[in-house]
């Protein structure tokens, strides 16, 4: 992921400074920013403006698949190897709820992880990074061509960046 287009990497200490910089950059038309935060932050997420993560759909469909497979497996296996007791119906779906329930959770959780990996990898874009962004700093990477850098740099610094550095 190091093969990014080149741009400016700013480090912020203050969350309100970073969010105002994000908003101004977006107004200027820089939409492919990468923002780093050490913890999930509502304000930053709001400034970046993503819709709700689609991972929840993965959870839903994983869970439904699990429940369906749980009943399918138990009922099919009972019919395939019938144990007839007192003339009662061979598949007894009530105890199979337990299996279907466990598989709902198992497949739901598995699909959630798959969704997390899928979307995080798909959304990944090349960007410069600094180790301090997992510690205590907020980072903003703005990919921009050389001729526009001084304007962006000025914006970042005036909104309170502690450090702005050129990354090529």
């Amino acid at each position: 992921m190091s093969a990014h287009a080149g741009g400016l990497l700013a480090a912020f200490v203050h969350v309100d400074a970073a969010t105002s910089a994000i908003r101004e950059l977006k107004e200027m038309g820089y939409k492919d920013l990468t923002v780093y935060t050490p913890v999930p932050n509502e304000e930053v997420a709001e400034a970046v403006g993503h819709p709700v993560s689609p991972v929840r759909l993965w959870t839903l469909f994983g869970g439904i698949t699990g429940a369906f497979l749980g009943f399918l497996m138990t009922i099919w296996m009972s019919l395939d190897y019938p144990m007839i007791v007192g003339g009662k119906p061979i598949p007894s779906w009530i105890p199979y709820v337990v299996i279907a329930f466990e598989l709902t959770i198992l497949f739901g959780a598995g699909a959630t992880i798959a969704g997390l990996i899928f979307h995080a990898v798909r959304d990944a874009k090349p960007a410069a990074f600094d180790g301090r962004f997992t510690d205590d700093m907020i980072g903003i990477f703005v990919p921009c061509p050389v001729e526009r850098r001084s304007a962006v740099q000025q914006l970042l610094q005036s909104s309170g960046a502690k450090e702005v550095r050129v990354e090529d």
Binding site: M1, V13, H14, V15, D16, L33, T34, V35, Y36, T37, P38, V39, P40, N41, V44, A45, V48, H50, S53, V55, R56, T59, G63, M73, T74, M77, S78, D80, Y81, S92, P95, Y96, V98, I99, F101, E102, L103, I105, L106, G108, A109, G110, T112, I113, G115, L116, H119, A120, D123, A124, A127, F129, G131, R132, F133, T134, D135, D136, I138, G160
Partner: protein, 453 residues
């Protein structure tokens, strides 16, 4: 309460640590184990070796070397299985259920609890295999098409247990790993040498970008939401292993909630048992405070009272239900051959936790540690009483028996503790036992104008 508003809301004593301090303090707990660590680790490995040797002996000479005497064919192994599954539960309670309730205090202790969950399930999972004797046929538990077209019986709670426990293991492992990723990334950016390589690989490319957090927070929320009903279901299913049969002392509808409460009770006790020395050794007093222990002890008091209530109700129903066998079974529990086990359980689980009504006890870490050890002991005996004592005293006096665990079983039991602590010791020195990210999360990020915050 009014005297210390800030610690109540943020979970840390004043002054609040900065993000940088949190990363540094927690990263400092990793690596460079002391001599004491190696001595402890060597001791744990020795005990584990004893268990492994006992197991190999049992595999070589058969199940006869365990103390099973008809009708008691479920003994220490099943007791220990239920014990370890139970231990696991409070980890999920603290990490998932309290997460959904937005309890800020959980952040400092949840990683320890969640790691404990995974290792406890790993320990518990060994026991059904040890108990079936012929380890190499254990795969028969899994439904698969075979030449004899034999399928497993989905009406049996024992098979539900296979699904419940293996799902529980998978989901809690995923939950632990997902929670670890941002933390590993934070240490990765501080570490040097071979550890940097280890964390570079295990952080899976985490950088804390906006899109990563966007998907991560959702995924974590849904994992917590899935783990919550799961944890309640797992020990219910374990309880049905007993309650679905007609053994007097087992066949009771109260079993599922009774077992779930007992599981959380024993698990909280184990969290306290683990956190007290860990906090001391890792100098985590700033993050894991007396307030955390007080909250844990309240949880222990609550679940302990549910368990105590269940004991009373069990006896009451045995009498009130008017079933002669049920009455005889419960009379035998209290005054029969195994009276000592029953009274150990009642004193450790029912009476001793009543000390937690006193604020002084709740805020005294040595007192809590001792109480937690007694609760651990009592909860093991609870399972022993339910399983062994009920089986030894069924319907037909001619078919009653007395079971005494053999040395093989005791060695395997102690080996299971060693196995658990081996994983925990390895984890504690290589991965953060206090969540860096979540401890930071409850402290607001700095602002240019603090007054506007």
């Amino acid at each position: 309460m009014a005297t210390s508003v800030s610690p109540e809301t943020t979970g840390t004593e004043l002054p609040q640590p900065t993000y940088g301090e949190i990363t540094r303090d927690i990263a400092a707990t990793l690596g460079n184990p002391s001599r004491g660590y190696y001595i402890l680790f060597a001791f744990v490995l020795t005990v584990l070796a004893g268990g492994v040797i006992a197991l190999l002996y049992q595999v070589r000479y058969g199940m006869g070397v365990a103390g099973y005497t008809p009708p008691v064919m479920w003994g220490v192994y099943i007791t220990t299985f239920v014990f370890w599954v139970g231990i696991a539960h409070s980890g999920t309670l603290i990490s998932a259920i309290l997460y959904l309730f937005r309890s800020a205090w959980r952040t400092a202790v949840y990683r320890t609890a969640e790691a404990m969950t995974v290792f406890a399930v790993m320990t518990a999972g060994l026991f059904p295999l040890i108990h079936v004797g012929r380890l190499w046929y254990a795969y028969w538990l899994i439904p698969y098409p075979n030449q004899r077209q034999l399928w497993v019986n989905f009406k049996s709670p024992l098979l539900w247990d296979v699904f419940a426990v293996s799902t529980y293991f998978t989901v809690s492992t995923l939950f632990l790993i997902v929670g670890l990723i941002p933390d590993i990334a934070a240490i990765r950016d501080k570490a040097t040498g071979w550890r940097k390589q280890l964390y570079r690989v295990t952080s899976l490319g985490w950088r804390g970008t906006d899109y990563q957090w966007r998907h991560f927070t959702r995924a974590y929320l849904y994992l917590a939401a899935l783990a919550t009903p799961l944890v309640l279901s797992v020990h219910s299913v374990v309880s049905w292993d007993f309650a679905m049969s007609i053994v007097p002392g087992w066949h009771a509808t109260i079993f599922a909630p009774y077992f779930v409460a007992g599981a959380i009770y024993s698990g909280v006790a184990m969290v306290i048992t683990l956190t007290v020395p860990l906090r001391k050794v890792f100098r985590m007093e700033r993050y894991v405070t007396v307030r955390h222990f007080e909250n844990l002890s309240k949880l222990m008091l609550l679940t302990g009272m549910i368990v105590g209530y269940a004991y009373v109700v069990e006896y009451f129903i045995a009498w009130y239900g008017g079933n002669a066998f049920e009455r005889a079974s419960f009379w035998n529990r209290a005054f029969g051959d195994y009276w000592w086990a029953t009274w150990t359980m009642i004193i450790c689980n029912g009476f001793l936790p009543m000390f937690l009504w006193f604020r002084k006890v709740r805020r005294s870490i040595p007192a809590l540690f001792v109480l937690a050890l007694f609760v651990n002991l009592g909860m093991w005996f609870e399972r022993f009483v339910i399983i062994v004592v009920s089986l030894s005293y069924e319907y037909e006096p001619y078919a009653m028996g007395h079971y005494t665990p053999s040395w093989v079983e005791w060695l395997i039991l102690s080996g299971s503790f060693a196995w658990f602590f081996m994983w925990f010791l390895l984890f504690a020195k290589n991965f953060p036992t206090v969540s860096i990210t979540e401890v930071k999360e409850i402290i607001p990020m700095p602002r240019r104008n603090e007054a506007s915050a």
